[in-house]
């Protein structure tokens, strides 16, 4: 099996799907000739032509709005938003049009659309190139929100997102693009949206996380194993819909839960996971639920020590897990 970076896995997935289905079209800012600012779509315009990989105007509302109209009427668009931070001009189209279309029309119309955008920080992108935006969309019924944490999952979830008949936000962690490597099958495979994955089995406590933090949590778990603490790592993979069953199972198994995400704490995915646990399995818990999240500041600060202070690290995760294990 080939070893690929997270970015290469996504590109391979896009190429494979475009070869299979001529209805798939990509557009976005600089996705064609340059292949995107992160080069995820590099080579695709050469292979599939200017009609299927299109450099669009710098206008996110139109990029998504056009994709919605095209998706309703028979294409399978995969628009790219250059940075997750830039998605807000398209918020209206995503929330008011894409998410509501099936419900509003009582199933007459639907929007098979995948919006790809890089999220997350730790690359010195500062305030407007580092945001985690998944929670805004996870709040909205009608949308699906996918946040892969490994190259293997990225390719399989991308195929599932493209096959899905509903609008999917596919958030790629930009710090994962070149830092994460893993085995990725060449043949096509689908990972079901809405299914979490136990990335490491453990007994003493569970870390529930997603996206880049999965790899950080695994590093923390490895370090804690040296100290005799057995950590289970549950990768949500999708934050809407959430895999409630998997969340409940791991909590019941270990009795202690640490939720980790880079996005800020208030109103984040961790709040929803905590509420599910409190509603369903409170009496299985041996310790209060613990959340380790980005701080509630407006955006990622620029200066390296400030950025480091914001970012979750494997060390911070290990420390929080250690404290929880001792409870």
């Amino acid at each position: 099996m080939a070893v690929m970076t997270y970015l290469e896995a996504i590109r391979a997935g896009l190429r494979q799907e475009m070869q299979r289905d001529p209805r798939i079209v990509i557009w976005g800012e600089d996705v064609g000739v340059r292949g995107g600012v992160f080069r995820v779509t590099e080579g695709l315009q050469q292979e599939f032509g200017e009609d299927r990989v299109i450099d669009s105007p710098l206008a996110e509302g139109a990029i998504v709005g056009v994709a919605i109209g095209a998706a309703i009427n028979g294409l399978r668009p995969i628009p790219e938003i250059q940075f997750g931070d830039f998605i807000f001009p398209a918020m209206n189209q995503i929330v008011e049009e894409a998410a509501r279309m099936r419900y509003r029309s009582n199933n007459d119309f639907h929007v098979p659309l995948v919006i790809r955008a890089p999220i997350g920080g730790g690359i010195h992108g500062a305030l407007y190139h580092s945001q985690s935006v998944e929670a805004f969309f996870a709040h909205v019924p009608g949308l699906k929100v996918v946040v892969p944490g490994t190259p293997y999952d990225a390719k399989g979830l991308l195929a599932a997102a493209i096959a899905d008949e509903d609008p999917v936000l596919f958030f790629e962690h930009k710090a994962a693009y070149r830092s994460l490597r893993g085995e990725v099958p060449e043949e096509r495979y689908l990972i079901p949206i809405g299914k979490a994955d136990v990335k490491r089995e453990g007994q003493d406590l569970s870390i529930i996380t997603y996206s880049l933090m999965v790899s950080y949590a695994l590093r923390a778990a490895e370090a804690l194993a040296q100290e005799g603490i057995s950590v289970e790592v549950l990768d949500l993979r999708t934050v809407r819909p959430l895999d409630r069953q998997a969340i409940l199972e791991t909590a019941k198994k270990t009795g202690k839960v640490l939720i980790v995400h880079e996005d800020n704490k208030t109103g984040g995915i961790g709040a929803e996971v905590s509420a599910i646990l409190a509603e369903e399995v409170l009496f299985y818990l041996d310790a209060p639920i613990r959340r380790l999240c980005g701080p509630d500041v407006p955006a990622m600060p620029y200066s390296p020590p400030l950025e480091h202070a914001f970012m979750i690290t494997p060390e911070k995760i290990a420390q929080a897990a250690r404290e929880l294990a001792r409870f």
Partner: protein, 326 residues
């Protein structure tokens, strides 16, 4: 234009007028939940535009959209049922007055977010072209929408990609109570086409034949691959912004309202048909009676239809049910 075609125009104008008069009555009697944004006064531009495209051409509407599906030939029974929130409505009661999306006549959806449909229409047109059809998309919006960013983003994109869209601005002069003349920087909204290097045409929205002609030309351009057009139909709504939403402010003068009503297309188009020898007054009276009967039938159908099962509130969220909806 054949006499039959002109008579069909007249029929559709009357359908919209009587349908909306019935809707107003249903609001006043408390039978229509919510409010109704009527097309009364704007029928001619709607019908002229809708009859210039084919039934299989796409259409995008807005919150004031009772007229659009009727103009394109939709069954009024299912539209009226939707207004009353009944299960037999075009969207099984989920959409209502402001979202009458009738797939059978090419609707791509009607949204109440002003301007939001402009890029969606471009997308429908793009799909039509990429899938190798010659379908076009007719996109309706009001004067207020042309101040939204989505309008400008959508027009620019449709222009550079030469998409087969007809952007039809129904300039009824007011965004709720705010006069377009005070908040639109150009004299004519059609002038905004110049910024995107596409044709911009002003047309008398009270003359269905004139609207039909300019839209037909735009449709022809679109089907030939020459790109979008912006057409501004100058028109007027006779009633308030929405029936059931009282607006205390006096934002229009009685003289202005009277001047527009003196050019009522229901009256002037009838006179024209008689003067041009297209039909006799008796023949037109028969159309009036037939349309009144159709509307009465639609109201009866809507009234006698059941409401949806409350369980339907929890359906239609995803293609396959997802847990945690309730």
């Amino acid at each position: 234009m054949t006499p039959d075609f002109l008579l069909e125009m007249y029929r559709r104008i009357l359908r919209i007028r009587y349908f909306d008069e019935a809707a107003v009555e249903l609001v006043r009697q408390g039978e229509l939940p919510g409010v109704a944004h009527t097309t009364i006064g704007q029928e001619a531009e709607v019908v002229g535009a809708c009859m210039a495209v084919r039934v299989d051409d796409y259409m995008v509407g807005n919150h004031r959209s009772h007229g659009h599906p009727i103009g394109k030939g939709a069954d009024m029974k299912r539209l009226m049922a939707e207004l009353l929130g009944k299960v037999t409505g075009v969207n099984r009661g989920k959409g209502g007055s402001m979202h009458l999306a009738d797939f059978s006549v090419g609707s791509v959806g009607e949204t109440s977010i002003v301007g939001s449909g402009v890029p969606v229409a471009a997308g429908a047109a793009l799909a039509a072209r990429m899938l190798g059809t010659d379908r076009v998309c007719l996109c309706f919006f009001g004067d207020g929408a042309t101040n939204e960013g989505a309008f400008h983003e959508g027009l620019n994109l449709a222009a550079i990609w030469k998409l087969p869209v007809i952007y039809l601005c129904e300039n009824n002069q007011y965004a709720v109570t705010t006069p377009a003349a005070e908040v639109v920087a150009v004299r004519n909204i059609a002038d905004r086409a110049r910024a995107y290097d596409i044709p911009g045409v002003v047309v008398d929205g009270q003359d269905p034949v004139a609207v039909y002609e300019v839209v037909s030309e735009a449709v022809q351009r679109a089907r030939q691959g020459l790109g979008p057009s912006l057409i501004e139909a100058k028109t007027y709504r006779y009633l308030e912004h929405a029936e059931g939403l009282p607006i205390a402010a006096q934002y229009r003068t009685a003289e202005e309202v009277a001047a527009w009503k003196a050019r009522d297309p229901v009256v002037t188009f009838r006179q024209r048909l008689i003067q041009e020898g297209v039909a006799t007054p008796e023949a037109l009276d028969q159309v009036v009676a037939a349309v009144r009967a159709e509307v009465a039938e639609a109201v009866a159908y809507a009234r006698s239809s059941p409401y949806p099962d409350p369980e339907e509130a929890f359906t239609g969220v995803y293609s396959t049910p997802v847990g945690g909806v309730r």
